[in-house]
Amino acid sequence: MIARIFAIARAEMLILRRNWWLMMATGIMVLFALALTFAGSAPTGTLGVDMLTVSVSSMTTLAVYLVPFLGLMMSFDAIAGERDRGTLSLLLTYSAGRGEILMGKFVAQVTALGIASALGLGSAGVIAALYAGASPESLMALFRLIVTATLLGAVFVALGYGVSALAESPAAAAGLAAGLWLVFVVLFDLGLLGAVVMDGGGMFTQKVFPWVMVANPADAFRVWNIAASDGVAISSGMGGAAKTLPGWAAPVSLLLWPLLAFLLARAVFRRVEP
């Protein structure tokens, strides 16, 4: 089983390298991370934290948008595209089960996202550290950012498989993926914000809101990075909601989501007739 997953992952990795996905994802991450690091370096003095901390906090905000996008772009074609090309029906006649095929693709694409995150966010972090110094604490925050960004990517890669299996065509899968991105990254937060404003600081804002927020993987990612580092919390000004939650809430959410999303995608994929 492991051998079959590995065989698929190896082929997928080759494809990601050949069609420039790995290069492009890494390039986009490096560019955005560098831009944010230098553009965001202004408030360093006023907040009393080092440049890497500020950089990590702005990269957290960036990654919430960018990483789910890259994950979905990488994965939406995984099943719909194979079905469209007619390669899926042949692949499925082999002994590898559907779960194994999906896992092989998952391993390869999450690894690719991990490489892109490590190189992209890492290079920006290294430059910030060289330029203005870094503390062990801020290096830890950078490391945490890279790991959690990969986890966040894994969630959306798996969700992408789900819509890919659900869609009739690659174009429909792309549309559904865009919809997923919009809902999880933009509309969910807007909705919550609206609810908080309507509620006017009542029961909902106090007790329910933080839990609903952290149930969204994108927000869990944000909360985990912010709550874990005082410096990042200060420079992002978003520590308020995070403080009312126990420390384990965001990590549990972000660790459970990839698993949940993968199981969901596998369940949908099982019903696909190639």
């Binding site: 080759l14 029906s89 042949l90 006649t93």
Partner: protein
């Protein structure tokens, strides 16, 4: 019956309310080559999908060497060549075949030798995007040869192949059969399968209307042999009158006779003397048979 590699027993399939396959029975023994003929929409591809376990079986059952379709055991025993086969364009032929091999067999076979066998040795390290349709078909055939399948399902295997490649293809199919694989070839290219199969099954609108050797099918259909008589000196009218045939033009007459009366008829015409310049005989071809069985004209 139990030693058959592939057994299909009174299988039904519905798409919505329409029944696309009705009580299909078909068995293929190890080493046997069976052609599955039918027009588009006759249910060939659906039947193959059912054998592969990729679509549900609504009645009856299918056994692949004793295993149910779709099970891991059954998948391991089955090789499949889809109609106009396709692969990921960015992989090379060698990489694609290596992937399939590591998904199906424990010990990696000699991929280079396999690619050489299907005539792709030189292109093995080129990306599949650069392959012609015929080359993709060859690569598809190479993956059928991986491992020693109990059952090989080939859906329109000759589509896109030039005549020489077709000969190669049938040589490979014969090899497969010789090593004991039960081969089922779905096709509507009738002339292709004529000489290359042991048995022919014909599907029409989801019903199996024939399943026998070519000889028996010809006899069963009772199709006449066509005779064309070339006549000298514009005497076609007289000859047509004398033989009971149809005058085609001033110099030839056409008539049909049953297989049993062929010699008798020939002697009669030969006795007519110098007026008859030549006789051309056309035995019933698979096309005629196919038309006979697939339009519902069977007796």
């Amino acid at each position: 019956m139990t030693d058959n590699a592939l057994i299909i027993r009174s299988v039904d399939k519905f798409r919505g309310k329409t029944q696309v396959l009705k009580a299909i029975d078909l068995a293929v023994a190890p080493g046997e080559r069976v052609a599955l003929l039918g027009h588009n929409g006759a249910g060939k591809s659906t039947l193959i999908k059912m054998i592969l376990g990729q679509t549900s079986i609504d009645g009856g059952d299918i056994s692949i060497g004793g295993a149910k379709p779709g099970r891991t055991v059954a998948r391991a025993k089955t090789a499949f060549l889809p109609e106009s086969v396709n692969f990921h364009p960015t992989l090379t032929g060698h990489e694609q075949l290596t992937l399939f091999a590591s998904l199906s067999v424990r010990d990696l076979p000699d991929i280079d030798a396999l690619l050489d066998r299907v005539g792709l040795a030189e292109a093995s390290n080129n990306r599949i995007a650069t392959y012609s349709k015929g080359m993709r078909q060859r690569l598809g055939l190479a993956q059928v040869l991986l491992g020693q399948p109990t059952v090989a399902l080939l859906d329109e295997p000759t589509s896109g192949l030039d005549p020489i490649s077709r000969q190669d293809l049938y040589a490979i199919i014969d090899e497969l059969a010789a090593q004991g694989t039960a081969v089922l070839i779905a096709s509507h290219a009738l002339t292709e399968v004529e000489a290359q199969t042991d048995r022919i099954a014909i599907l029409r609108k989801g019903i199996k209307v024939a399943d026998d050797t070519l000889d028996n099918l010809s006899r069963g259909a009772g199709l006449p042999t066509r005779m064309r008589i070339l006549v000298q000196d514009g005497q076609a009218d007289q000859i047509a009158m004398a033989t009971g045939g149809t005058r085609i033009n001033g110099a030839s007459v056409e008539l049909y006779c049953d297989a049993g009366q062929k010699m008798q008829e020939l002697r009669r015409i030969a006795a007519m003397g110098d007026v008859v310049a030549d006789i051309e005989l056309t035995p019933p071809r698979l096309e005629d048979l196919y038309r006979h069985y697939s339009t519902g004209g069977q007796t």
